[in-house]
């Protein structure tokens, strides 16, 4: 990588890291793992930087992150460390939405990595099912089934949502 490419790569990383680290954090649920995931994706991008000169490198970085997360899950990185008590407790709050958001955050972090990955891509990245399937290298049916299972788990983890009237409309 020559000086020009190095300067372009540094500019790209500095400008896009705040966005990319959020996605990585959502995928991993933890800061250090998210940094490691993003660093791996950026290293792979740097190795292919000359081939990406004409194209926008950000989609490549994102795709590498998604696939790397699935690969890590397959390699056993998904094993959770058991603790006696959950690190964060949902406390009662006068504002119902804050309670609900915290509970939802906890439920999202408890999702299996592959299901959380699909939820992040669908609801945070606003990708369609086809785009998610293309990014993950799987079929649209797989994306749908994973999304449905993830939503079922979120609903099961938050039974108070029915009382709040959030799920009054029910599932389609």
């Amino acid at each position: 990588m020559d000086d020009d490419d190095l300067q372009r790569f540094s500019d790209f990383v500095r400008s896009r890291t705040p966005v990319l680290i959020r996605v990585a954090y959502l995928l991993c649920g933890e800061q250090h793992t998210a940094e490691d995931l993003l660093q791996t994706a950026l290293a792979k991008t740097a190795a292919k930087w000359k081939q990406l000169r004409a194209a926008d490198p950000e989609p490549y970085v994102r795709k590498v992150m998604y696939r790397e997360q699935v690969s890590r899950w397959r390699k056993g990185w998904h094993r959770e460390v058991p603790v006696q008590a959950p690190p964060e407790q949902v406390s009662t709050d006068p504002s119902a939405t804050s309670d609900l958001r915290l509970a939802m955050q906890q439920a999202l972090l408890r999702l299996p990595p592959r299901q959380r990955l699909v939820i992040v891509l669908r609801y945070y990245e606003d990708l369609t099912e086809t785009q998610v399937a293309e990014a993950l290298g799987c079929s649209v049916g797989t994306v749908r089934s994973r999304t449905g299972r993830a939503i079922d788990k979120l609903r099961a983890a938050m039974p108070e949502l029915d009382h709040e009237g959030v799920l009054s409309g029910g599932r389609p």
Partner: protein, 180 residues
């Protein structure tokens, strides 16, 4: 699913993403990429060396096996043919072969007129074809000192096959190194 539930998921995801702390990963990413490239090159070199080390003997064995596939025995032309040398260009005639054995020993009989008793045949080492002919009949009148002349038909002729004729057609050329 209700719109409110979707919005709750989106809001929760945004809150979660806001917890991430931006860091500068440029140097780490570049170091990692360089390390990965170095590792890839080292692995490729090791793989190439291993391929050469293992493939060359295997290829040699396979090429040797193809010759042996035609038959278990190696080709005799390759092994038994001696390499030609300059001494073979002109065959040296052997005088012992070319010259016929002088027939004097055969033609000249033992002067039998002095011998009253003929030599027993057992003492003769080589049974000569002219033995019966040379056996003189003892007679008192045979005072002729001349030995009986052998008929020319009984004299051994030199074998014509031993005539040393250098074969002009034999001109050894330097063999190619690998040809058989």
């Amino acid at each position: 699913m209700s719109q409110q539930f979707d919005e709750l998921i989106r809001a929760s995801l945004r809150d979660l993403a806001g917890k991430a702390q931006p860091v500068d990963l440029t140097a780490q990413a570049l170091d990692r990429a360089q390390r990965g490239r170095r590792t890839s090159l080292a692995l490729a070199a090791a793989g190439g060396a291993a391929l050469v080390v293992f493939a060359v003997p295997v290829a040699a064995a396979v090429s040797g096996g193809w010759q042996g596939a035609a038959g278990d025995k190696p080709k005799p032309a390759c092994k038994s043919k001696p390499a030609p040398s300059g001494t073979f260009t002109k065959p040296v005639p052997t005088p012992t072969v070319t010259k016929p054995v002088p027939s004097t020993t055969f033609t000249k009989p033992v002067p039998s007129y002095t011998v009253t008793k003929p030599v027993p045949s057992s003492t003769v080492k080589k049974p000569l074809p002219s033995y019966t002919f040379t056996k003189p009949v003892p007679s008192a009148k045979t005072t002729n000192p001349e030995p009986p002349k052998a008929t020319p038909s009984l004299s051994p002729k030199p074998k014509p096959s031993f005539s040393p004729k250098p074969q002009p057609s034999f001109s050894p050329k330097p063999r190619p190194s690998g040809g058989c």
